[in-house]
Symmetry: C2
Subunit: 170 residues, 2 copies
């Protein structure tokens, strides 16, 4: 009989061949795609994909602004990383910081007109890149499956359904 049953000592649950193939494809595809989009945006918009995503989130937010912590959460990055990113975007003139009146520790990241401009200029090229790399190659069923799968994975990794507890959102 198996006498060990703790997570750390029992027999590892290795991936079988098919699972390994799936996992490798996942790694390959995500690596290639992120790289591809990074280059596309670096070339056409002068910024990496993550930074572009930040501008998009701001553009979609009321008054084109978001608290730093909130933006970090939506973009799934750390506050530290966001601080650096916003500093860079500020240098480009695409984002501006504003103090939060309600909380003196708080900062808003605000999309500037120049930032809006850059988005409008580069969004078409970016969607096209995403379509060509992903949507154009998948059937409707596959797109649906992809959405569902990714939703499940993201949900599982979300640091405890975060965000439900931000004062500003009450």
């Amino acid at each position: 009989m198996e006498y060990m049953n703790t997570a750390s000592t029992s027999e590892p649950r290795w991936l079988n061949d098919e699972e390994q193939r799936v996992w490798r494809s996942y790694i390959d595809a995500t690596t290639l795609l992120e790289d591809h989009l990074d280059r596309q945006l670096q070339r056409d918009a002068g910024m990496p994909h993550v930074y572009y995503g930040l501008l998009v989130k701001l553009a979609e937010s009321p008054h084109r602004r978001l608290r730093m912590t909130e933006l970090a959460m939506y973009a799934k990055i750390t506050r530290s990383r966001l601080s650096h990113a916003v500093a860079r975007l500020e240098k480009n003139g695409w984002v501006r910081r504003e103090d939060c009146p309600d909380d003196k520790r708080g900062q808003f990241a605000v999309l500037t007109d120049a930032g809006q401009e850059v988005l409008q200029q580069t969004a078409p090229g970016h969607v096209e890149a995403v379509r060509q790399a992903v949507f154009d190659r998948l059937t409707t069923e596959q797109q649906k499956a992809l959405g569902e799968i990714m939703r499940i994975v993201a949900e599982g990794l979300q640091p405890s359904e975060a965000g439900a507890d931000l004062p500003w959102l009450r």
Copy 2:
């Protein structure tokens, strides 16, 4: 009437709401997952996910070695990035470089015993992390779909079915 029809000037093929949801889920999941695995491996193996992947590829190769270019290709990273990575892994004593006898420009990256060791120690924890984050949460059908989808996407981005033209592989 629409009078323009060239790629650069025609109306952008925007993503509809459902497509946007799919795309966002994709970004969220891949960002969270890569971050999760990076932390897991940094904590337990003292290296980022990509570096771990390099050791795995070497471990699976004949004589635990691979030409630099070949390794870069399998791992889907640039040669430059690989050079830096191997330099670091070499410092850790997990990889060693060897000259290629057939081509004086060439280098082999070779997995050392210490590298093998580190893999054996940390592989169980890593598979478990992957399982918990991905496979345990998906049905068999979803796993299959994920594999197929990722294979398609990777295939589309592969720089021209690369690798078919490496002399060593003839």
